[in-house]
């Protein structure tokens, strides 16, 4: 970091960090590890199914092919019915990632739409959408998923994708709404409104670009949730057990007692794959978090100016909602939410 003559210019340079050419080098180590690890899995998902050595469903009838330990012919061994574990793994990674990413994209889109709409419309609609969001947050997802999917046995992946999406948006919507409320009262939004820009243009070009890191974090979280939930559901047996995903692999390995029979090569690879994908996503998320919240960043990001260590200026705090005029029915509805406890308390102190 070069020492600029004036303190003011130095600080702006620090806050604009990601835009500088060396952005990859400036990324937190955790985020870098996450990007690399996740990238490897995406690559496997794209190439994997094209290079499977065997048909994952092919059952080798000869008894000598059953439960083989890893060898040159079967790099990850075989299952009880002589299926090749590596082929199943390669196809399974594709299916699991596909599901996670589709759910992540659609649910995050829903979250952005609901969150931004609620914050922009305000009044009754804000309170109504927030109420719906909070209700869906508080109803436990996995039991509901099990109940819903119990009615759609063996109909392929789509029921799972649809149901996971329908239950996956509320968390993101809540955070994005809070951030939009904070941003929409800022000067640059007021300025663009004064210049006569349309609301949709303000939303698309002023608000949403300022929430990119939040939306990215919400996407990563949703993918994580979708993968974890789909694997758990398949393991329980509430999924299409005829297709090969990491979850169904684990289901078959468990139901045919792979561990008890000592066939670790059948049970460990799919579990490890899920764990590594999960770790990659968690790392990515911590990285995004650190980009958005400079205090979490390592001390290395602080810069030394005139003998003092200064940290980059704080961005807008996400959760401190700008206190709004709430009256009538909307105010009444809002008073039921947990956040009302905080913002009204401050107003009460002033009285």
């Amino acid at each position: 970091m070069t020492i600029a003559p004036a303190i003011g210019t130095e600080l702006t340079a620090v806050t604009q960090e990601p835009a500088q050419p060396g952005w990859w080098r400036r990324m937190p180590t955790k985020a870098k590890a996450g990007v690399v690890l996740f990238g490897l899995f995406v690559l496997t998902a794209i190439i994997g199914p094209l290079v499977t050595p065997y048909d994952p469903s092919y059952q080798n009838p000869s008894p000598s092919a059953s439960m083989n330990a890893p060898s040159a012919a079967h790099l990850l061994g075989t299952t009880q019915s002589g299926q090749d574990v590596l082929s199943q793994l390669l196809v399974g990674i594709r299916l699991t990632l596909e599901l996670g990413i589709i759910v992540g994209l659609v649910a995050t889109a829903l979250a952005v739409i609901v969150g931004v709409t609620a914050a922009f419309l305000g009044g009754f609609w804000d309170e109504f959408l927030s109420l719906v969001t909070n209700v869906f947050l508080v109803i436990p997802a996995l039991p509901l998923l099990i109940v819903l999917l119990g009615y759609f046995p063996n109909r392929g992946e789509w029921p799972t994708i649809v149901v996971l999406t329908l239950l996956g948006w509320p968390w993101g919507a809540r955070v994005i709404r809070a951030q939009t409320l904070a941003i929409r009262n800022r000067d640059f939004v007021a300025a663009s409104r004064e210049t006569g820009e349309r609301t949709w243009r303000i939303i698309a070009f002023e608000i949403v670009p300022n929430e990119v890191s939040l939306i990215a974090a919400s996407f990563v979280n949703t993918v994580l949730y979708a993968i974890a939930a789909s694997v758990a559901l398949a393991f329980i047996g509430v999924a299409d057990l005829n297709s090969w995903s990491l979850g169904t692999m684990l289901y078959w390995a468990e139901s045919q007692q792979a561990l008890q029979l000592g066939a670790w090569w059948w049970f460990v690879p799919p579990g490890l794959a899920v764990a590594l994908i999960g770790t990659a996503l968690v790392l990515l998320n911590t990285g995004i978090d650190e980009l958005g919240n400079p205090r979490l960043r390592d001390a290395s990001s602080a810069s030394r100016i005139a003998g003092r260590w200064l940290k980059p200026a704080d961005p807008t705090p996400v959760l401190s909602e700008i206190s709004q005029r709430r009256n009538g029915f909307a105010g009444f509805l809002h008073s039921f939410s947990r956040s009302s406890l905080l913002d009204k308390a401050e107003a009460g102190d002033g009285r």
Partner: protein, 328 residues
């Protein structure tokens, strides 16, 4: 008090939404529950159709609003009908048998994980960049592993290979459940490994959140002021920083209860633990719709109740809620 009452109203709305979803799911699904059962058991006589309809409460007749009202009345009387898979047993009896297991084990494990995770988070946040921070990636990995995978491997290692813990089940074979030491001892012995897996997998989440909030709180002016006054570190950490940092943690606890319950469902399947999760999965795989729906309601209500308890705790911990009421 006003705050609690308002939250109570919110939970009533949430409970009503859950009840309504539960009512409409079987009615929106293509085909009906009775036909699903009929096709599953081909030896059933066609005359069984009527009997099943009556059993499942699908054949109430009348308009959908009439059925809806009858359903609400039934739920209010804890009358969930008769189980199909364990035929003569009432659903409410099965629930009463399974609930204590889940509540005791999952409740204890969750509270322990929350307390230990929060304490570790306070330490890690205070000594930001210290030794505890280096443990974090490992803990993240532990959290990213599918829960059941981790539990199965521990089960294999510590129960099957090395006989430190018993293999699954809620209590030893041949014991009759009751309030005597042989049974209680056996039940505790059987709950240790499941509890350990829940604590180990959920601790990282609490720790990470607490650490992050602590780091943000420590930068606040009042913490720096407390240090400048020369207060001992212990007092600054606990009564200034941690006390304020714990509020988001508590709010998160309410929402996390849902996730914890979900993890517990899977835990019971891995350990064949005789709780509500095992019952739920068995009921789904055997198409026992009355039981499935009743369990969903019970779990949802339990989560809502846990949230209400957290709200009450928040009122005690956060003076702002009380001062707001005093100002009224």
């Amino acid at each position: 008090m006003a705050f609690i009452i308002r939250r109570l109203v919110f939970y009533v709305v949430a409970a009503w939404v859950a009840l309504t979803i539960n009512f409409f799911i079987p009615r929106l699904v293509p085909g009906n529950a009775v036909e699903a059962i009929m096709s599953k058991f081909p030896n059933l006589q066609p005359s069984a159709y009527r009997a099943l309809e009556a059993l499942l409460g699908v054949g109430h007749g009348g308009s959908i609003w009439h059925q809806y009202w009858a359903y609400l009345v039934d739920v209010a009387h804890l009358n969930f009908g008769t189980s199909v898979s364990e035929y003569p047993a009432q659903v409410s009896t099965l629930l009463a048998e399974a609930l204590p297991w889940t509540i005791t084990l999952v409740g204890t494990a969750t509270v322990i994980a929350f307390l230990v995770g929060t304490a570790l988070g306070i330490a890690a946040g205070w000594r930001h960049g210290g030794g505890l921070d280096r443990v974090l990636p490992g803990l993240m990995f532990l959290q990213a592993i599918p829960y059941f995978f981790f539990a199965l491997i521990l089960l294999e290692l510590f129960a099957v290979k090395v006989h430190v813990f018993p293999i699954g089940q809620g209590y030893g074979q041949g014991l009759i459940p009751g309030w005597h030491w042989a049974f209680i001892g056996s039940a505790i012995d059987h709950s240790l490994l499941p509890a350990l897996t829940i604590v180990l997998t959920s601790i990282a989440g609490w720790m990470l959140q607490m650490r992050n909030v602590m780091i943000t709180t420590i930068g606040e002016d009042y913490v720096i002021a407390a240090q400048a006054k020369g207060l001992p570190n212990r007092r600054v950490v606990l009564t200034y920083a941690a006390r304020n940092a714990i509020l988001p943690q508590l709010q998160g606890f309410g929402l996390a209860v849902g996730f914890v319950v979900s993890g517990a469902l899977v835990m019971e399947i891995v350990f064949s633990y005789p709780g509500i999760g095992l019952l739920l999965v068995n009921s789904v795989t055997s198409n026992d719709y009355p039981l499935t729906q009743a369990i969903f309601l019970v779990i949802t209500f339990a989560v809502l109740l846990a949230n209400l308890i957290v709200d009450i705790i928040i009122v005690f911990v956060d003076p702002r809620t009380r001062s707001r009421e005093a100002a009224r």
